[in-house]
Amino acid sequence: MNAADTVLLAYSGVDVGYYGEPIVRGADLRVHAGEVVGLVGPNGAGKSTLLRAVTGDAELLRGSLSIAGTDVRTLAPIERARLVGVVPQLVTAAFALSAREFVAMGRHAHVARFSAASEHDRAVVDEALELTDTARLAEKPTDELSGGDLQRLALAQALAQEPRVLLLDEPVSHLDLNHRLQILDLVRRLANERSVGVLAVFHDLELAARYADRISIVAGGGVGPADTPELVITAESLRDVFGVRAVVGTDAVTGAVSVTAVLREGAVASQHRGRVLVIGGSGAAAPLLRRLVLGGWQVSAGALNAGDADQVLADALGIDYVLIPPFAPMDDAAAVRVAELAAGADVVVVCEVPFGHGNVANLVAAASAAATGTPVVLVGDIAGRDFTGGTALDLWEQTVQAGAVSGIHGDAVEEALPGGTRPGRV
């Protein structure tokens, strides 16, 4: 049998909680040898509780949970400690044992009661210190070490157990960037090279996406199916699970899922400020779109090319906008759609975008809105932005003559809106 086919940790219909009260219900999850499975989800959803079911620190109320094929209920703590290593969220060591002695405690389950540590035990401890880059700390008392050092020593201690399964409960939350990556690189290596099965709770979605083979969302008392990060971490899931509207993309360098939180659902102003159409493109409208949504405006956006920064954000914000294909000019249908949005809006804002033949129809819509008495705000100046040979300039001037505010930037834009006030930092 291939190592990767070995199921090291299997939750089947597991309810787990405390004092008879389940926190998580019906968990089905498998961790195979050589695999890193990430658990993400809001605070208090039961991610840690799920790990704690393995170690008996939380109650297994229903279903079955097995470690390397053995029912966890039949495993004595000492047998379990030979299979499972745990790295806790916060490591405290308020005593003066040396780092080496601290790590050597991980050998407890392997050393017989009346015998001393063997050559092999010492070698395992040395290796654990080397792997976690803590060998130089070996003789230091643990109560003089930093939280980051302790966290790495806790991993070393778990490695000294020679576990087949590693449980990590937000193992890098207290570490600086360098050590974060170092620890997770090491965890990845242990999975790849030694076929350790890893179940890890992640706080940071991007780190989860970067290091986990599969991710499962723990939320609302349940455990979602574990699947690849691209399938699990989406704008929809983030909105449903975390109540955050986010732009989910692909990191240009690592190729992993990238997440940019745009706004919290709860942060959107409760008052309704009216409907605003924003003409943008190429990211010129992005900051304004976000702030208007936060300010309680019902925002729509003029024709945006698919893949354009403004379009990605509009998607994440869940606003109404006119979509046109990548790099394509607006067709008649798009122009009509934008004109309709302009007609239905209480105010139209034209951002500082260059106008060419492909998008000048947006400006046409703004000009006609101004002509019918709809307030229009023109951000900046048209100078240097007209690539239509004069059409855009004419439309701009018509709009100004019809009463549009122009030549303003930044906060002044929001102040110029009907009922507008100077916004704070949002």
């Binding site: 008996g56 004595a76 703590p77 806790p88 060591a93 003066a96 002695e101 389950a109 050393v111 009346f114």
Partner: protein, 335 residues
């Protein structure tokens, strides 16, 4: 870093017999160290000696041996409580276990009025029962949903201790005819020491300390907290039960022969930990030796400071222990 622990333990192991010889030699009637050796030699060979021999072999020796056993028991119990509760302030006294043992012993004294032979075995048994029940009660009171809060533990210990002390006083008033025996016992002292008492306490001490001495690695795991100790393979609940029973047995051994003697169980493990660090492989044996030395010397002081009047040894341990403890705390903070 700490001094080589083996050296410290060796030094203590040499200091204990020296302290014991001093304890035998000094007193209201001083005996030369050479005479002590001679008397011991005669006793071993079964040759009868004079009055001085009786003083050495029948009065001072059992007293010194008993002091060593009681001191080691208290320090051992303190070390265990401090490890299990991860609380440097835990000791048999503060947790109320001594009071529990005391009440048990007292009840036995009252119940066995007139039956001296029965009293001899009933007192330690009742002390053990009292210590164990009190420990369970205090832990129960201090636990909330399976978690044992350190502050609650001390508060519960103190509260239970006061309550038990009140019950003890009540018993004393009720059992007037036994009052002399009770008061005598309660003062905390070793003046009644004799070989039969040594024969009573020694097995309790051995039984109580055996399991902890073979569990120093597990005691070290407890430093990490119950949960981590469990992750590393310790059956935490079972281990705690065994260790608490051992600590209760040690407390009962001390209390049933020497009454209530404070500070040794708190201070000695603490001092040793400051010198040696938290590794129980050294901490536990060093605490046992340190406790024995401390009480042998304290009892010696109790006998000779205002000789021929004897001070209860509990007063000596408090007077010496309190300030020393404060000095250690201040020094620890300054570092």
């Amino acid at each position: 870093m700490h001094p080589r622990p083996a050296l410290v333990v060796a030094a203590l192991a040499i200091a204990l017999p020296l302290a014991m010889v001093a304890g035998i030699a000094l007193g209201a009637v001083p005996v030369a160290a050479s005479d002590v050796a001679a008397a011991l030699g005669r006793a071993v060979r079964g040759v009868s000696g004079g009055l001085a021999d009786t003083l050495v072999v029948q009065v001072r020796m059992p007293r010194v041996v008993l002091a060593a056993l009681v001191g080691a028991s208290l320090a051992g119990a303190g070390t265990l409580y401090q490890a299990l509760f991860r609380n440097p302030l835990a000791d048999p006294y503060i947790l109320g276990v001594s009071s529990g043992a005391g009440l048990g012993a007292m009840a036995a004294i009252v119940a066995t009025a007139g039956a001296t032979a029965a009293r001899f075995t009933a007192v330690p048994l009742a002390a053990f029962a009292g210590a164990t029940l009190t420990m369970l009660l205090v832990v129960r009171l201090a636990s909330h949903r399976g978690r044992l809060d350190a502050t609650s533990l001390l508060l519960a210990g103190v509260a239970v201790s006061y309550t038990l002390a009140a019950v003890t006083s009540f018993l004393m008033v009720v059992a007037r005819q036994q009052m002399a025996a009770i008061v005598y016992w309660m003062m905390g002292g070793l003046s009644a020491a004799s070989w039969p008492y040594v024969a009573l306490v020694a097995p309790m001490f051995v039984a109580g300390i055996a399991a902890p001495l073979f569990s120093t690695r597990e005691l070290n795991l407890m430093l990490l907290g119950d949960e981590r100790a469990g992750h590393l393979g310790l059956s935490v609940e079972r281990f705690k039960l065994v260790m608490l029973a051992a600590a209760s047995l040690l407390t009962a051994a001390a209390v049933s022969v020497a009454g209530l003697i404070g500070f040794v169980g708190l201070m000695v493990p603490h001092m040793v930990r400051i010198v040696l660090g938290p590794d129980h492989r050294w901490l536990l044996p060093a605490s046992l030796l340190g406790g024995a030395i401390a009480l042998v010397l304290a009892d010696l002081a109790a006998r000779i400071v205002i000789a021929p009047i004897e001070i209860p040894v509990g007063i000596v341990t408090a007077v010496l222990g309190g300030p020393f403890f404060i000095w250690l705390l201040v020094r620890g903070r300054a570092r």
